[in-house]
């Protein structure tokens, strides 16, 4: 009973202070909005409209047809027609185009010959993504109408599940839930105790009968609600603005997110017991945030990473949450079919919270 009362006291205090901290409040709403718009619009991994130029020395019916086919893919945006190969190269050098297409004057004859390349793509290889796109372009079919096309047929057919239109927002929005929660939840709690230490409040608090777990729980609880508020913002925007399909149960999303929020808050508390200034706790947050963004599968597919990176990723809560949330939202998976990810998160949270409580000393030495 007394325990509940003390937890309530800490909780109420946190709410009061939070409601007056405009910067933090702005972050709660601002970070999801900015990140979502940034990742949803600006950062687009389906590459379109790459600046390109071409030289058509053949200028035949077939070569013009080929150029038209390339334009139709929308991958290249043919801004210039250059007169010579030299001009094409200088455009590339100047960075005005990323891809140059060179059709030699014997283009038609080359197309007919089975062992000669018909055209050349000049690619700015400094960006691997553009290089990858160029590789795809080489698959563009080219032939005289009378010529049989059989030899160009792909042996393996790709069927795109869950994201038939290949929109990156579909993949990024659920991933952003985890990234934004990691960023804000860890940061808020990492700062929470350090701020009181800096302001001198802690010396007063530790001299009251409040017990360490009571203080920790009282501090965590308001942020759980804030985490849920952010979840609603991200999902609503994702659903109605970016048209991300939500195929799974809302209850399952809620459960997975609650566990993940609690894990991050515990982690933040642990950081706050190690830092002595707010600046230090922010530095530590970045130490967690950066590998989380890069290795969790949010940016790059988990399976494509080297074993060491995978091992590091497995100890990041975000990796497990990404699997959960993408599974539930995009594949409509049942939360219990991914129980091992839940266990991983729960274990992580318990360890972090236990360490935080053990490390936090109600003494000053």
């Amino acid at each position: 009973m007394k325990t509940l009362l003390r937890i309530f006291a800490v909780m109420r205090k946190e709410f009061l202070q939070l409601s007056r901290d405009r910067l933090t409040f702005g972050m709660i709403v601002g970070i999801p909005l900015i990140q979502l718009l940034m990742f949803g619009y600006a950062i687009n991994t389906d590459v379109r409209n790459l600046g390109s130029a071409y030289v058509d020395e053949a200028d035949t019916h077939l070569s013009r047809q080929f150029i038209a086919d390339l334009t139709a893919t929308q991958v290249v945006d043919l801004r210039h027609r250059a007169a010579s190969l030299q001009e094409l190269e200088s455009l590339l050098d100047a960075g005005q185009v990323s891809i140059g297409i060179y059709l030699p004057d014997d283009f038609d004859r080359r197309v007919l010959s089975p062992d000669r390349q018909a055209a050349q793509l000049l690619v700015d290889g400094t960006d691997p993504i553009i290089l990858g796109v160029a590789q795809q372009l080489t698959a563009t079919p080219v032939a005289f109408d009378a010529q049989p096309r059989v030899q160009n047929r792909n042996l393996i057919e790709v069927r795109n599940y869950y994201n038939p239109e290949r929109r990156s927002a579909v993949n990024i929005v659920p991933g952003l839930v985890g990234v934004i929660l990691t960023m804000t939840m860890v940061l808020f709690t990492a700062v929470a105790i350090v701020r009181e230490r800096e302001r001198g409040n802690l010396e007063f608090l530790i001299n009251t009968p409040v017990k360490t777990p009571e203080l920790m729980l009282g501090k965590i609880f308001p942020y759980i609600l804030i985490g849920l508020l952010q979840l609603v913002i991200i999902l609503a925007l994702g659903r109605y603005f970016f048209e991300v399909p939500i195929r799974g149960e809302y209850l399952h999303i809620l459960l997975a997110s609650l566990l993940f929020i609690a894990t991050n808050l515990a982690l933040g508390l642990l950081l706050s017991t190690m830092a002595t200034t707010q600046f230090q706790s922010m530095q530590m947050t970045f130490f967690i945030l950066l590998p989380s963004i890069l290795l969790s599968g949010f940016m790059f597919p988990f399976d494509g990473m080297p074993p060491l990176a995978q091992a590091i990723a497995e100890v990041l809560p975000l990796t497990h949450f990404n699997r959960l949330i993408r599974g539930i939202i995009l594949r409509g998976a049942d939360i219990m079919s991914m129980w091992d990810e839940l266990v991983a998160l729960a274990v992580f949270m318990l360890i972090a919270l236990t360490l935080a409580i053990a490390r936090f000393n109600k003494r000053l030495d």
Binding site: G200, E203, K211
Partner: protein, 318 residues
């Protein structure tokens, strides 16, 4: 329950921070219901001692019992019974006066009815009622100090620890503050207060003088004056600077303090005819002055005990 004779007792209390000895083998006996002072310069170990007595710092050596509870093992049980007012304002500046007191009343788990009554009572008692909706961060120094004392006494502790409570308040507020302390002591609260103001120390029932982590003297202000190893000669001269320069040559004199046109001259007690010694010194230098032996005040006690100790330490080192 009968009140024990001593509310606080410490034996050989020591705190080391690395190589620095912040508090060095301090023994304390603080009687119940008294105002007990810690007098000493900054960095003499006052705050560290208070923090050890509150159970906030673990002593490196020695023991302390507060209200019969061992501060090492029973610090948590102690928290409900003691009040602590930190040197720096440690309540929440982004909460109002009333919200702060309500928080404190809940964290000390007062019963619902008592909570509201007590907060209202303290707001009136500490003259904060018209400030109850003001943010604590916007209060003046004196108001902050009243709020801090109200918060420290809210759960009716038997002992109050006050760490330099008046360092940021004006003289009028200091007077009012001490009035409140005497009222609390009257009601049976033991108060341990640290200060570097002589006039405040003089108001305590008894006090300990701390210097460089050591307790160099203790007792009531009066007995401290009686027991020092110095005699005090007061010199009133037209030109105190000249008198001072002349007296400085006298090897027996341990300290000279100027107060306007007066000089307070300290000599070891065993020097006989100290008054004559001073008079002759001044006559030889052709300086007209009134010379008179006086009863030592607390400042003389402080200067005497710290100077004598430092002189002894210097001799030891040499």
């Amino acid at each position: 329950m009968s009140t024990p004779e001593f509310a606080i007792q410490a034996r050989g209390l020591t705190k080391r921070f690395g190589n620095l000895i912040a508090v060095n083998e301090v023994d304390l006996d603080v009687p119940s219901g008294q105002i007990y002072g810690f007098l000493g310069p900054n960095g003499c170990g006052k705050s560290t001692t208070i923090r050890m007595l509150c159970g906030l710092l673990t002593p490196s050596a020695g023991t302390a019992t507060v209200l019969g509870l061992d501060t090492r093992k029973e610090a948590e049980a102690l928290k409900q019974k003691i009040g602590y007012m930190t040197q720096k304002f440690s309540l929440f500046e982004d909460m109002t006066v009333k919200e702060n007191l309500e928080f404190v009343s809940t964290i000390y788990t007062l019963s619902g009815k008592d909570r509201r009554a007590r907060v209202a009572e303290l707001l009136t008692e500490f003259n904060l009622a018209d400030r109850s909706k003001q943010y604590a961060g916007t209060l003046s120094g004196g108001q902050k100090q009243r709020l801090a004392l109200a918060a420290a006494t809210l759960h009716r502790p038997s002992i109050l620890f006050l760490d330099e409570p008046t360092s940021a308040v004006d003289p009028q507020n200091r007077r009012d503050f001490w009035e409140t302390l005497f009222e609390l002591a009257e009601q049976g609260t033991t108060i341990l207060v640290s200060t570097h103001y002589m006039d405040e120390a003089a108001r305590c029932h008894s006090l300990a003088i701390l210097d460089q982590g050591c307790k160099v003297a203790d007792g009531s202000p009066k007995t401290l004056g009686e027991n020092i190893d110095s005699q005090v000669i007061e010199v009133t001269a037209d030109d105190p600077n000249l008198a001072r320069a002349s007296l400085c040559k006298e090897a027996q004199i341990t300290s000279i303090t100027q107060l306007g046109v007066r000089l307070r001259v300290l000599l070891p007690k065993q020097v006989t005819g100290g008054e004559d010694l001073v008079r002759q010194n001044l006559q030889q230098a052709n300086i007209s002055a009134e010379v008179e032996a006086v009863f030592p005040d607390l400042e003389d006690v402080f200067v005497s005990v710290t100077e004598l100790r430092r002189a002894a330490l210097k001799k030891e080192a040499a």
